[in-house]
């Protein structure tokens, strides 16, 4: 069995989770605090990947990053980055596709914290950044954990977006989900089964971990009366 697609899936999931953590925290913070009229628009954009077929996202990313488009031309000729049929393209696609899985749990965690908590920090002279880093984030650890694990698991299971933007290049863009599809196409059900079982086990373990950790945390905070 060739483990490269599995390793690539994990690499993609790891990089995507890391990038989304950096993008998702400020975005979720803004959404949880903002009273701006554009907030519903941004919330809709964040949630779109939940309802859109992955091929639609993949298709538009393909158009956006193709060398014929101005954006694709800019990245390829000015910065030397080609997002089509490359790992970096997979990362961009995965970030967009998994965005709600990171943002929604963090936003919910921040919104559920008492408003007094951030206000108490502001009147103690603490900046918004210090308040977020030292007060808010440490008190939403389960939400952060949920966001990270769901993003990781969702990215590992991606198919449509990665196929559209990355194609099926061995060792470069052929992730585990695409490898399963490949093996089924050539009627090699044994190999497909191996890949599928690994993905199934990983997804099960990750979700189990989320429920066990969060269940343990809530039991602890219930006892403490928080």
């Amino acid at each position: 069995m060739n483990y490269a697609p599995i390793i690539l899936s994990f690499q993609l999931a790891f990089v995507t989770t890391l990038c989304l953590l950096m993008i998702g925290i400020p975005l979720a913070y803004w959404l949880s605090e903002s009273r701006s009229p554009i907030k519903p628009v941004l919330e809709t954009i964040v949630s779109l990947p939940l309802v859109l077929p992955p091929t639609v996202i993949g298709f538009y990313l393909l158009l956006a990053f193709s060398p014929d488009s101005s954006m694709g031309y800019f990245f390829k000729n000015m910065l030397g980055i080609d997002f089509i049929f490359s790992f970096s393209g997979l990362v961009i696609g995965s970030i967009i596709y998994s965005l709600p899985f990171m943002v929604h749990p963090i936003q919910a965690g921040l919104s559920n914290l008492p408003e007094n908590l951030s206000e108490a920090a502001y009147v103690l002279g603490k900046s918004r950044w210090t308040t977020l880093r030292s007060v808010l984030l440490p008190n939403i650890k389960p939400a952060l954990f949920t966001g990270m694990t769901l993003t990781f698991a969702h990215t590992v299971g991606e198919f449509g977006v990665v196929l559209m933007i990355g194609g099926n290049i061995p060792d470069q863009t052929r992730v585990a989900s695409i490898a399963i599809y490949d093996q089924v196409e050539v009627l090699n059900y044994g190999a497909a089964h191996q890949y599928a079982l690994i993905l199934l086990t990983i997804s099960f373990v990750v979700l189990l971990l989320v429920y066990v950790v969060n269940g343990h945390y809530f039991k602890k905070t219930d006892r403490a009366g928080i």
């Binding site: 908590l117 206000e119 108490a120 502001y122 009147v123 103690l124 002279g125 603490k126 440490p138 008190n139």
Partner: protein, 292 residues
Amino acid sequence: MLEFDLTKQFGKRNTGFLLEVKEQLPAGKIIGIFGPSGAGKSSLLRLLSGLEKPDQGYLKIDNTVWIDTTQRIFLTPQRRSVGYLFQSYSLFPNMTVAENLAFAAEKKIDSTQLEELLAVIQMTNKKNLYPSSLSGGEQQRVALARALVRRPVLLLLDEPLAALDEAIRTTLQTYILALHKRFQPTTLLVSHDRQELAYLCDLVLEIKAGKIVQTGTPELLFEDTQTIDLTTDSFRVLSLTRNEDKLIVELVAGKQKIKMALKHASWPALKSGDTIQLTGTEFILLSTKINS
């Protein structure tokens, strides 16, 4: 001197609420704010702290301008020297008592200052506990000390004792007085409890429908009563004056304030803040100490 003239429309013009407040208050005093629910008491504190922005007006404390809408000056809460105590416990759950106090300091907290604060609020032996392990009264004690770490010139107390039972309230009132005596910030205290306001405050102001309707000594809190309602559960000792072998005691309960003489010998340890009960049988009035 704390001076302000602030206007803020909350919500829509027709259905919302207009706060229009103007006052000059002396520095270093405890000033009580009372009035019906929804009159704008907490909104006033939020405007003074910078948590809300006024539509127009100014706010000056000890000749430092915090708000002046004509000059587009608005200092954020971070840039004001303010301590704020909320009704609900707003200690940071991820930090211990000592960490909560240390976090409030501008730079690294001086260990002597930390120990002193812990000693004043009698929490030295609980400094490494998290807020979830503390009682409501203990949490408010820590929150009060934390509000004073930066030595603010203005301390805002928004019904800080409302959620606590009476015995703990009485204890916390003594902590408020002790900490105020130690740091002397100009203090604004919102409370519905007239006994509490009378006991703690040098001045009181009444707010009704978004406007300050009167300001004066705590006498404002009470109606002149010629009769005593003995169905009242307990009276709070507001002040005591010794007159030869008698104690002239001022007692308050609700809007009643009465003065009575007690035999000094029978009440050697009675002090201001104690709670006593009056009972009447025909023409003989008996008084019993409940707690202190």
